[in-house]
Symmetry: D2
């Protein structure tokens, strides 16, 4: 329902236009040094209203930590964190109540909850809920870095038809946070930004792709069959609104390849077993193999567009049309970058705790 | 770990070269009429050794139902089913024990289980485990059809570089089971078969894609955010060995589109709310919208190939090479078709039970 | 960890001397009319500082509802509720940090969390956490009453050696909330109150028993073996600090009886199947049988006492002694009455949702 | 439903008169040396037909291990084990189908499963299902002993009104398995045996109590609030048919005590922190404190009795009477002793794995 994970478990609450958006993190071991500033830094990356390619809704999104920390360390108790909703503009939602927006959950939510759902701003289905993911992900990132040296890093590799060339981890580190679209290639970034502004002016929107890489993941995380790393990461990524495809390693491209081309041969590298290539994205049989974990996440274009669209009036049960004015990101992908990182960090933490590799490290601290 | 699902819950057990492969299905309501023959029919579709494009391992794969049925009906008790392993040939695995096969889980399993895992035939990581999925999926399919009229249907849409044109549901129904590659388009099927035989002769292998559609799924199944239909279906599909990408609706293609092109407008059709197109694969906000649910599943090429590949000797910690002789499917995709169907049926059943829509129908029977 | 239940799921957060104590309720169906006042009424029953037999800590314990309600109805989204901690007096806890209080979790928490736990006021192990249970239980009670007419009712049947005679449901309804010890028998209540004041003056404390009955529970809730009503209720009750025994029906007394004495014979009553006696507390084979569900919950005496007790200094690893001054209930049982009711309501709701009986009723409303 | 536990997870399947009774154990770490003989030894303790105080149903109850072991070690894969049902006598159940036996689940199961449940021999509600618990418990015991030196030990402390004096662990070890009632005090054992035979001849039955102790449990296992050791052990014990009360430490007796009498003072013993008494049964705040964990489990008398009892004919909806002939234990308590041990071992293993203490030990072996 609204809880994800087994050993590192996050419970989401809140609505887009309710009082707040929050998360309860359960399972974080005691003794992890962490500050509100660290969590805020991640939240700021996701914050709306940052630049010309994002929504004009302005939210401070200041993290409030309600429980689970004491004297600068995690205590082993659940960590409840939230951001208050301040800049709510629910006008328009009442009038649009009976005309579901195409591409949104308005219609399906109505069926599911018999009309009792909070429909303002998409309610529980809003992208704003991902603020909770980012807070939970910040704790996960801190834990992963502190104990295992794992780093989770994403960038925008595609916006509409603009695709970034293959970029290195160094390029992502250097460039992704320096341009408003969060692309690892500055030249493509400029073109992406222009494309977003262009469709935005026409009242339209764009989709895109986030590429993510997790470095220094120890070999052996994951489980065969049902709780594979791929399966758990994919489930967590599909929790991000607008995600419609998840690929690992070369992903869909592998379908066209031969075994002799696709297989990553093993080799020795400074006394350590590695693979020569990493077509399978660091995962074999659902378990990490010690290489970088790589995946691609495809986002559909923002469904809210200013252009006229067909829809139905569900009260009168007749056809009508709608224009979705309001404050929306013309392309959600740049702001989704920290969210993708967060969800992958959450899943890796869950599996690292399950495998017992974190306990061994943090245990020494106690 | 080895249990999947909440309301319809399947627990897998067994190994490729152990005594059997089985599954325990929990949560199936009492009162569903079902026979061993029905389950067997699904199992037969997955059975190895059926034709020239599949492995030469021969297994009867006769379902044994150990519990949960009485007088031809489900009883509400867990249903334990298994197939015995008979045609085991574990020769080769002892000698290959220290040289992990590229693309397989040999290395990661060793790390995870400290060398205690049953490595014969891939052990717990083998595709043979999917026999359990198919048995669990058969019960799910029976329940879905009997109560909701839901039909889950898949076919091979790509093998290597051979891609099927878009085919209708009718074409899948008519053709997919009539050719050894299970493609809905007979002409492509012939080319796919040829391609598989060709790489097989060279000791190589091919990947491919399975497309799946679920018909008559009622609107409102699924949950926002963490337990979306997409997330749960994806997690279940990544439980199938060799799957590396999962897409819904137009999937990755949506990333290149504009909102005005991608959005599925609502319309009235015979008094029912439908969408004009189905680019989002029947899912909005993680919930079914009453349209067909469509997805694409990408498989990497079978990692077992007869050609020489680099690997390491993990005892000596030095580089070496390997040829993986033995009995393997040169392309696993055709046999994966019923497995994909099974996993999607399992997830839809889980969500239908959660939403309470099955209980209402089956309840009348009691 | 900190989440309980499957279909009606509660996640607890907060600490005794942290910022707040809260709960997230997940799985409550949409469309239930509920107000903050209703929840507050239950909270007020648990509130500290109500009378001479309770702690002198004063907390307003005003419920704050952060999510999940809209226009007076549940929305189907998680309901986050909390009370702020205001009257925190953490003095004493710093000095007592190294001398674990006998009967408390100070020592075990230290081992578990390596000293990083928030030890002030018992932190995460404090009885104050049950404020969250009561809020979650209030929603559960509202749902049970509204849809099934289920009523959950408890009273103090024993304090120290003072035992109440057997009282009827009517007597509990009439008297339990009218005396500070919440006993269904006013005469015993007076003696209990006196006994508590007497030990309190001596710096000592008392244990006791809460008896609970759930009326109008439909037959057929629960599951055989692992998820029995007894098992789930017991697990939920042991979540209340100081509970050391849980009994159903005649409980421990049944051990001394013969089958012919203990068995509840079936009979017809106004066309309905009932049992003549209810020695088994309304549960057969882990499932409700349509009779009242009855159970007894034994509490140990409050471990915080003003008398000198032996303990150890865990820094110096040497023996010492301690007096636990501070604000504590000399007998926790009266304030535990609404908590016991809450937890039983939570479990019954979970099982009623699982069995599908609530959905059918509330579904009509939509 | 039919799965219990998180990190050490057992899934039960089978029916009393179906083909078999079995269990799937998930989460047992790889590398544990274990044999079928070890499991069989535990099963033999529970086996029916052992002596004059048990049922005359004769079952070999030979364990069949279907998966999860290889070369004498656990592999990390799920362990499926079962015993076949051979001596089934289902006569009588067809005629009794419409007249639910008092004290049994016949009526509640019928309501729950709409009459589709396998009612022969109690079906899924039969005590025979505990054979699965014992197999799962045997693996748990092996793991606990091998890694932590934990020993779980129970005996019959009460049969009807015959109560054993307090016995030491040594007396339990020495005597409990040497008399048919499994009492740690031989003199009481003789009287218990006589009492059982006496009621048995009259067609009646007796209840009783099993006392259990777990030695060498490390401090710090368990969790506050929802996943306390007490809560999880209680839930697991209520999975045993006929259990109606669970107490820890002095249990119900604590309700009558003062804090100054009940509290276990801390002390130093050979440099280790211990408590002087163990009134709280080795658990504080839901976590083990390093002392022995002790609990008492109360069983109602076997509901199957040869004497005439009132019941109803649920087809005709009218009152009638019934005699339950057949093969039943006149007192189930002696055979429940290994079952209680098994369930406690299962829960302790689950918590030991969760706390990471087993991984550290077994990890060294790899």
């Amino acid at each position: 329902m609204n809880t994800l994970g087994n050993n590192y478990r996050i419970t989401s609450f809140g609505e887009s236009h309710g009082r707040c958006v929050g998360v309860v993190v359960d399972g974080c071991p005691a003794g992890l040094p962490i500050t509100g500033e660290f969590i805020q830094k991640e939240l700021d990356r996701r914050k709306p209203g940052q630049n010309a390619v994002s929504t004009s809704r302005r939210e401070e999104d200041q993290v409030e930590i309600l429980s689970g920390l004491y004297k600068g360390y995690t205590t082993g108790a659940p960590i409840c964190m939230l951001v208050w909703n301040r800049d709510r503009d629910s006008s328009g939602y009442e009038t649009r109540r009976w005309t579901p927006r195409p591409g949104h959950a308005d219609y399906t939510a109505r069926i599911r909850y018999g009309g009792y759902n909070d429909y303002r701003g998409g309610g529980r289905f809003s992208g704003r809920l991902t603020a909770g993911y980012v807070m939970a992900g910040a704790v996960a990132k801190r834990l992963l870095t502190h104990t295992l040296g794992v780093e989770v890093l994403a960038h925008t590799s595609q916006v509409g038809e603009m695709k970034s060339p293959k970029v290195s981890v160094e390029e992502i580190r250097k460039h992704a946070e320096s341009n408003p679209v969060r692309c690892g290639d500055p030249e493509t970034a400029a073109r992406m930004e222009k494309a977003i502004k262009s469709v935005s002016q026409k009242g339209d929107s764009l989709g895109g792709v986030v590429e993510c890489v997790a470095l220094n993941v120890p070999a052996g995380l994951g489980q065969p069959l049902f709780d594979t790393l791929e399966g758990d990461i994919a489930k967590a990524l599909f929790a991000i609104p607008a995600v419609k495809a998840v690929e690992f390693g070369l992903g869909t491209v592998l379908s066209s390849m031969k075994g002799s081309e696709a297989n990553d041969p093993f080799t020795m590298q400074n006394g350590v077993i590695r693979t020569m290539s990493n077509n399978f994205g660091g995962i074999l049989g659902g378990l990490s193999n010690g290489m970088s974990i790589t995946c691609r996440v495809s986002f559909k274009p923002t469904p809210s567009i200013g252009l006229e669209q067909y829809t139905v009036d569900i009260q009168k049960m007749e056809e009508t049309s709608i224009r979705v004015d309001g404050r929306h990101d013309p392309c959600i992908v740049p702001r989704a970058v920290p969210v993708v990182e967060a969800m992958i960090a959450v899943v890796l933490t869950d599996h690292a705790l399950q495998a017992g590799v974190i306990g061994q490290v943090l245990g020494d601290i106690k």
